[in-house]
């Protein structure tokens, strides 16, 4: 039993880190553009499909991940230019409707490109097999995915906290008007924020490909989880989604031991539970 719990715990942390990468992207977009990105799930699916396309050309998995990030980032740029911006002055309701319409378009394009049958891909030879951690045995790929996700999160954190670009981003989130008044190109900043956030969603999709495969419905389910993670983390908090992502992953994995069928619903129960005690989310301020 203890063995099972620790195995699920490690598993949960790995999945939670993928959630964290995804929701961190959502959090950046929410912070900068002040719109809940309804296309985030579709971008995640896009990343998985792009990664699949690259590795089926016999290219290395690493290139697949890079392509997933870049492809989704370009899609994010297109969304910003041709969907969000044209309806920008009407508040966020038109924006999120346009994003939802765009999500429909992306998902249908994926179905046209790769068909309705789900795709699966086993990780490269180097990442197959298991790793003995002493307390428990972990599939190598799961270990890789967690370490890689953690690295990505740290890198983005450094980008935001320790670079000039990051200072602009933080300024843009805190005081958009002042930032513009200081002569910073906020339009460009919003575009790059959208690209970064979308890219993270794509990267999460690429990372998830060897675990869950690529299916047309993966985006919709993931969107729900990403929203929950963001709400639990606290909407005002840029980094809350990281801890919340891991929490959601762990709770979900541990629930699988007791009641496998409830593992999806538990996420939403957790969210409502958290909100009853901390309405602003775990790390939100208000």
């Amino acid at each position: 039993m203890l063995w099972l719990i620790s195995a699920q715990l490690v598993n949960g942390i790995a999945i939670g880190l993928v959630y964290a990468v995804m929701s961190f992207g959502l959090s950046i977009i929410k912070g900068l553009l002040n719109v809940p990105n309804f296309a985030h799930g579709a971008l995640y699916a896009l990343g998985a499909y792009i990664c699949y396309a690259v590795v089926s050309l016999q290219l290395p998995f690493a290139i697949g991940l890079a392509a997933a990030f870049l492809g989704a980032a370009v899609a994010g740029l297109l969304l910003d230019r041709f969907a969000i911006r044209p309806v920008g002055n009407g508040g966020y309701l038109p924006q999120l409707i346009v994003l939802f319409g765009a999500a429909l378009i992306i998902e249908q394009l994926l179905l046209i490109g790769w068909g309705t049958v789900g795709l699966s891909y086993s990780p490269p030879a180097m990442l197959r097999g298991a790793l003995n951690l002493g307390i428990t045995v972990v599939p190598r790929y799961i270990a890789f995915a967690s370490v890689f996700s953690a690295l990505v999160i740290v890198l983005v954190w450094l980008l935001i906290e320790r670079t000039k670009f990051g200072a602009y981003v933080r300024a843009g989130i805190e005081r958009p008007e002042t930032t513009q008044a200081l002569g910073i190109n906020v339009e460009l900043l919003l575009s790059s924020g959208m690209m970064l956030g979308a890219g993270l969603a794509g990267l999460a999709g690429g990372l998830a490909l060897p675990i869950v495969g690529a299916t047309s419905t993966m985006g919709g389910d993931m969107l729900g989880i990403a929203f929950v993670v963001l709400v639990i983390g606290g909407l005002g908090s840029l980094y809350g989604s990281i801890a919340a992502g891991i929490l959601v992953g762990v709770v979900q994995s541990l629930t699988t031991i007791v009641a496998p069928s409830a593992s999806t619903a538990i996420v939403y129960v957790l969210m409502i539970g958290v909100l009853l005690f901390r309405p602003q989310g775990l790390f939100g301020e208000r």
């Binding site: 929410k30 002040n34 719109v35 809940p36 309804f38 969907a83 044209p86 309806v87 009407g90 508040g91 966020y92 309701l93 038109p94 999120l96 409707i97 346009v98 939802f100 319409g101 765009a102 999500a103 429909l104 378009i105 998902e107 249908q108 394009l109 179905l111 046209i112 919709g220 729900g224 929203f227 929950v228 963001l230 709400v231 909407l235 069928s261 409830a262 999806t264 619903a265 939403y268 129960v269 969210m271 409502i272 909100l275 009853l276 309405p279």
Partner: protein, 339 residues
């Protein structure tokens, strides 16, 4: 909350009375004529579906257009109404008042629960919370197989029977009779919701949409009134969901999926949020387009997505504004000045 766009809902209430009676009588006549002509233009079940989603969209517009509460979880109530009514109908209880009463009570209570959790959160937070509650209810319906049929949907739903004292029992097995019944409910729902919007209660909701803090500091219990609006919208959506289950004699699991919530917000916004005719028009365009597109191409949601994006970019005020803008002098409505 940012008070975007034009003031909705209250628009007709405070306008000067230069022949408002004629205009509103003409409007009512147009709506009734449209409802009467609709089944001649298309397959009867599509027409019935337009009526059903018209009810759903108008109920949602009470939240979006009047109260400014952008709920993305209304399909939860639509689906729950379908399950509540469908469960009774599939188990032999076919009395019409009982079935609809049960659907209204169940969805009203559910809306109260969701509203209590989410109503005090504003803006994007509210939207995401209603969305997440929708997901929770979806998974609950998905797992509760003994009642909802889970993935397969709740099958074997029969249509109710209306027992009238002197007329006798009226069954709704004929699709034309069922259309007539749905159309009557549609008109009743429209009259009811217009009344709600124009009532003092609706005016306070609209005031709170434009400036929540000011409305609250005038002494109005804003959160309580918003909760009441949320419950009304949920219960009316539940009626629409009940009708949907009766129409196809099955309640599919998709009827509680959050996609339905997003679609109904589309209908409201592409139609126009400023009156109750807008959402009805949006439902008409959406359902008609969906029926048309799904016949032509299996990837029709792509075209639907393009339509939605194009509508939002080129006609952000909704399709109704397209019809009403040109003959502004005809309707005798003055251009409103923003204060």
């Amino acid at each position: 909350m940012n008070a975007d766009g034009e003031p909705a809902g209250v628009s007709d209430a405070g306008v000067s009375k230069s022949g408002p009676h004629l205009v509103s009588i003409a409007k009512v006549a147009c709506v009734i004529a449209a409802v009467a002509v609709l089944p001649l233009m298309m397959p009867i079940n599509i027409a019935t579906e337009i009526m059903i989603f018209g009810i759903f969209a108008m109920a949602t517009n009470l939240l979006i257009g009047t109260a400014g509460l952008y709920s993305f979880g209304q399909a939860a109530f639509f689906g729950a109404g379908g399950y509540a009514a469908g469960f009774l109908l599939a188990h032999g209880w076919t009395s019409l008042p009982l079935v609809f009463g049960f659907a209204v009570v169940v969805t009203g209570l559910l809306a109260a629960a969701v509203g209590l959790v989410s109503i005090k959160r504003v803006g994007i937070y509210f939207m995401m919370l209603t969305f997440a509650c929708n997901q929770l209810i979806y998974y609950a319906a998905y797992s509760w197989r003994s009642v909802t049929g889970g993935e397969d949907g709740l099958a074997g739903v029969r249509r109710p029977v209306l027992e009238l004292p002197f007329v006798g029992a009226i069954p709704f097995d004929d699709n034309r009779v069922f259309y007539a019944f749905t159309a009557v409910l549609f008109l009743v729902a429209m009259a009811f919701l217009v009344r709600v919007v124009e009532s003092p209660f609706g005016l306070v909701l609209a005031a709170a949409r434009q400036n929540t803090r000011r409305a609250a500091s005038l002494g109005y219990p804003v959160a309580k009134l918003q909760l009441v609006a949320f419950i009304i919208a949920g219960a009316v959506s539940g009626i629409a969901g009940a009708l949907f289950g009766m129409l196809y004699r099955i309640v599919p699991i998709d009827s509680v999926h959050w996609f339905g919530s997003a679609y109904v917000v589309f209908m409201v916004v592409i139609g126009g949020t400023r009156s109750m005719i807008g959402p009805a028009l949006g439902a008409f365009v959406f359902i008609w387009l969906q029926g048309l597109l799904s016949l032509t191409w299996s990837r029709w949601p792509l075209l639907l997505g393009l339509f939605v994006v194009a509508t939002m970019i080129f006609q952000p005020d909704g399709l109704l504004a397209l019809l009403t803008k040109r003959p502004a002098w005809l309707s005798g409505r003055r251009e409103r000045s923003r204060s």
